[in-house]
Symmetry: C2
């Protein structure tokens, strides 16, 4: 395919996953931050939140490129949250916050939701979009106080939703997953590949 | 812990997983190949096979180090197979073999079994061993003839059990996993971490 693919995310993990599945793409980061906060003022559910944010991020980049006259391109927006008992765990702001989150997650099953929004414009000016959410369950081993303290003293938790990285040293505490592994890392590889294939195939 | 950890496997994937969970270890490859073939002559089940092979690999390295007078060390042996309809899919021998395996796996759920054998000798000459098997289910998207041909024309399938690498470009075809992701790659990270912790804790 000759369609330019654009990832509207600064996450190095998402970039790595798209590279792993063989996509050629460029990264253009969304500037939708202010808009985001406004859209989320009414306490959405985890699923609503990732739907709204992935859509906002993708649409922001899509509209900017359209305004620049770009054609035949597809933008991928994504957002990931960790959720337990319907509470959303964001990136931790400090050590105490990370300790709280890891203490909540240890010994239990939680869900990671990633929202994905695709925006496509073909060479004839025809547009198409699709948003979907993939949820994956993660069971974490019971952790001792020492293990929790050791982990939150590492660098790893501090730029991650829910305060952990499944692809990092935290994998020693992962007991089971039910769903898509890459979705937990930040982008559901198989679902994105198939949705992109379908979107490019359907538009003549 | 000061116990030396030895991985009895040449697999770069297993080495990477042990590194990711923060273990300090050295690699000593088993020379148990002839023994392996003899032990497997009677067509074992997938679970029996990985039990036998992980045990053989670990024991071979363990016995050699004991004979050299080494003490306070723990050897990790591992073996992974892909299984569908109780058939074991090994590493493919050629393109036709890879095509057969991927055609079997596409559109269905299969199971990946990894056997792990731990052998420990403390400084007082006390020995301990444990073998366990972890199974993880993997669902592969239906694949077109073109996708199968494209994939088997890549380098990726040819040193992998079942002819695919879940951590490689094949992840675009992975729909769902139920179990441990690293177990599918070649070593169940969380189970190994906890079994090693327990083994070192229990021996005084």
């Amino acid at each position: 395919m000759n369609t330019a693919i654009i990832l509207a995310s600064a996450s190095p993990r998402r970039r790595e996953i798209l590279t792993q599945i063989g996509f050629d793409f460029t990264v253009i980061t969304s500037q939708a931050e202010e808009e985001e906060k406004a859209a989320l003022a009414n306490e959405p559910s985890p699923v609503q939140k990732v739907e709204i944010l992935s859509h906002l991020k993708g649409e922001d980049v899509f509209e900017r490129l359209l305004a620049e006259g770009k054609e035949d391109f597809l933008v991928i927006g994504a957002d990931t949250v960790v959720s337990i008992d319907d509470e959303i765990l964001e990136k931790p702001v400090d050590l105490a916050d990370a300790k709280y989150m890891i203490s909540r997650l240890q010994g239990r099953v939680h869900t990671v939701y990633t929202g994905v929004s695709l925006f496509y414009a073909d060479a004839a000016g025809k547009k198409k979009e699709q948003t979907f959410v993939v949820g994956s369950e993660v069971e974490v081993y019971p952790m001792t106080e020492e293990e929790i303290f050791w982990y939150i003293s590492e660098e790893e938790p501090y730029d991650k939703a829910g305060s952990y990285a499944i692809q990092g040293v935290f994998k020693r505490f992962i007991k089971h997953i039910n769903g898509d592994y890459d979705n937990i890392v930040g982008l559901p590889a198989g679902a994105v590949y198939h949705a992109v294939q379908e979107m490019l195939r359907e538009v003549p």
